[in-house]
């Protein structure tokens, strides 16, 4: 992010802030803002830091106050116990399968539809696009009962398919990718057409690579949404061997009641780990993607 003061203004600004009081005012204002920003970022990080350090404490002492912010016991056995208490690998695997399948499905269906809506001319385009956009306003909670009945009708309840199939396409994905397709100059398409490429080749060989950053954004947002999902798994999955991570963690907490929290927190940390790793590598795409999607929209 660029600073707001561009080089051009600096001389003027300096000239104006020449007097002592004004410099002091600026300095004071800056420090106040800085302290507030620091306080908020502490509030944002503290719960996660606390969860990590408490997950490494001896279970018996996990509720002892004052809290220790730095891990001192390094009880990594807590992490082993997560796997013996509940089928944690199973939860992990189920979450992974659902997220991966949904990402794959959405990248395919949304990019195709987005390309058609952005670059091709066909009758009914405007109406169909607004129909799909209006689906953005429909919360899954409002349609969950009929969707559940459909899933039951196809005998897919208590199967990961119940989570995957309804997620195979998304209005948001179509909308986001369309914004990117719109920005590509049409010369590239024309050149490919003159070279004899058919519609599918133009899409897959020419256009798709050009929107790769947008595909990355969609993949990351989708991963985040489905990895963390709790509502639909709670309704569709009934046997613990089908549980996804968030469901499994609440199950793990249930086993301990108000007792030891260190092991529960070890599970929480394990479930956060993939998302945190993804965030470290993909932060740029994620943040710019969200910003771009909203500003262009």
């Amino acid at each position: 992010m660029a600073t707001t003061t561009s080089p051009r203004t600096r001389p003027a600004a300096r000239a104006r802030t020449g007097s002592n009081t004004n410099t002091f005012g600026r300095y004071f204002g800056n420090s106040v803002v800085f302290v507030l920003l620091l306080a908020v970022s502490f509030a944002m990080l503290a719960p996660i830091i606390w969860a990590v350090s408490t997950s490494l404490r001896i279970p018996r002492e996990s509720f002892t106050l004052p809290p220790k912010w730095l891990p001192t016991d390094f009880r990594y056995q807590n992490y082993q116990e997560v796997f013996t208490r509940v089928p944690f690998w199973g939860y992990f695997f189920n979450s992974f399968i659902v997220s991966a399948a949904v990402i794959f499905g959405q990248l395919a269906t949304c990019s195709m539809a987005a390309y058609a809506f952005a670059r091709l001319r066909f009758p009914g385009k405007g109406i169909l696009f607004s129909v799909i956009l209006s689906a953005l306003m429909v919360p899954i909670q409002a349609t969950i009962i009929p969707v559940f009945l459909e899933i039951k009708f196809f005998h897919l309840n208590n199967s990961l398919w119940s989570l995957i199939l309804p997620g195979i396409t998304s209005a948001f994905g179509v909308f986001l990718l369309r914004q990117y397709f719109l920005t590509i100059p049409s010369e590239l398409e024309d050149a490919a057409r003159i070279d004899g490429a058919n519609q599918w080749q133009i899409f897959s060989k020419v256009m798709l690579p050009l929107v790769a950053p947008a595909l990355a954004v969609l993949a990351i947002l989708t991963f985040n949404g489905y990895w963390n999902e709790y509502f639909r798994p709670l309704i569709f999955l009934t046997s613990p061997d089908k549980y996804t991570l968030p469901l499994g963690l609440v199950n793990l907490r249930g086993q301990f009641g108000s007792g030891s929290i260190a092991i529960v927190l070890a599970g929480v940390v394990l479930s956060l780990a993939p998302v945190l790793v993804m965030y470290i590598f993909a932060q740029k795409y994620l943040i710019e993607g969200i910003a771009a999607g909203s500003v262009k929209g």
Binding site: T3, F34, A43, M44, L120, L128, Q199
Partner: protein, 316 residues
């Protein structure tokens, strides 16, 4: 074929008829390709959005318990809903939650987005941005487990530090007065970073010359905020309010994991009632009626926001 024809046209004696035909063929191919491209998405929407919406509206007028076939009972479900104390309480809770969470989130995100524009080293700005946004990527269910412990009245970390500065233990999750607000705090903690990112992007898009002109005129920071930043950011503020309100109306994970709607029904939300009624009591018709009410609520609130925006939002 078609490309050959195109290549030949400049030299050949302009067979316009043939050329028109090629264009027609191309057009037809484009249309066919377009429909094939949108087909999977349309199928997905048909099966998992359009039919379920119609289905929910239809079911709302029936009595259905999965075992016996649904039968039509008119508007009885809606009448029951308006007289059902739990439903009314959940509507009230949800609205209070939506207002509190969004107001807090927007003010805080705005302050952070404006604050981060100050002069500071790039890595400091990067650190702030990273930490503000980090909670957004965590799972609401897992983080609610963490906040459930932090908010514990006797052993919670938050009350421990409050006691240090002389504040009595707050019954965050065990009092009917506090539970909803504690959940709102958890929600804001998780979502403020998203709003912050949108606001920062919006501020970056404001023409820098306006600020330069203000600098030259010696305008103070407060006036810059009120006269330049806020008016020019108003479309972004509207956009984030709309998506913020829609998503917070659907609140479910946090209250389910943190309080399970309690104590009493003090933190039970509309979606929790839908879940209870439909999937625990197997009253699918009644559940669908409440779901339709939630959907109507979303439409009305979104409509009001857009009407207000015509008066309040400044478009270039």
């Amino acid at each position: 074929m078609s490309t050959q024809a195109q290549r030949l046209t400049p030299t050949a004696t302009a067979p316009t008829e043939r050329r028109n035909k090629t264009i027609q063929v191309q057009r037809r191919r484009e249309i066919r390709a377009a429909y094939l491209f949108i087909l999977p998405t349309l199928l997905g929407f048909g099966i998992f959005v359009a039919i379920p919406i119609l289905g929910a509206i239809g079911l709302a007028f029936t009595k259905y318990d999965v075992i016996n076939a649904p039968h039509y009972i008119g508007a009885q479900n809606f009448q029951e809903a308006f007289g059902d104390a739990r439903v009314v309480a959940s509507l009230r809770n949800t609205l209070v939650f939506v207002v509190v969470a969004n107001a807090l989130q927007i003010v805080l995100a705005l302050a952070l987005a404006v604050g981060i524009q100050r002069k500071m080293p790039a890595w400091v700005r990067y650190f702030f941005r990273t930490s503000f946004f980090l909670p957004f990527i965590t799972s609401a269910a897992s983080i609610s487990i963490v906040f459930g412990y932090l908010f514990n009245k006797e052993f919670g970390v938050i009350n421990y530090y409050l006691a240090k500065i002389g504040i009595d233990a707050v019954p965050w999750l065990v009092s009917t007065k506090w539970s909803l607000y504690s959940i709102a705090l958890t929600y804001v903690w998780q979502h403020v970073g998203f709003t912050f990112i949108l606001f920062s992007a919006g501020i970056q898009n404001i023409n820098k010359e306006l600020y330069e002109a203000a600098d030259i005129d010696g305008v103070n920071s407060w006036s810059r905020l009120i006269r330049i930043t806020l008016p020019l950011l108003s479309p972004t503020i509207l956009f984030t309010t709309v998506i913020g309100v829609i998503s917070s109306l659907q609140i479910f994970d946090q209250p389910t994991v943190m309080t399970n709607g309690g104590p009493g029904d003090s933190s039970r939300t509309v979606v929790m009632i839908i879940y209870d009624v439909a999937f625990r009591n197997l009253r699918f018709g009644y559940g669908a009626a409440i779901a339709v009410l939630l959907f109507i609520m979303i439409l009305i609130i979104t409509g009001i926001q857009f009407l207000l925006s015509k008066k309040l939002v400044f478009y270039k």
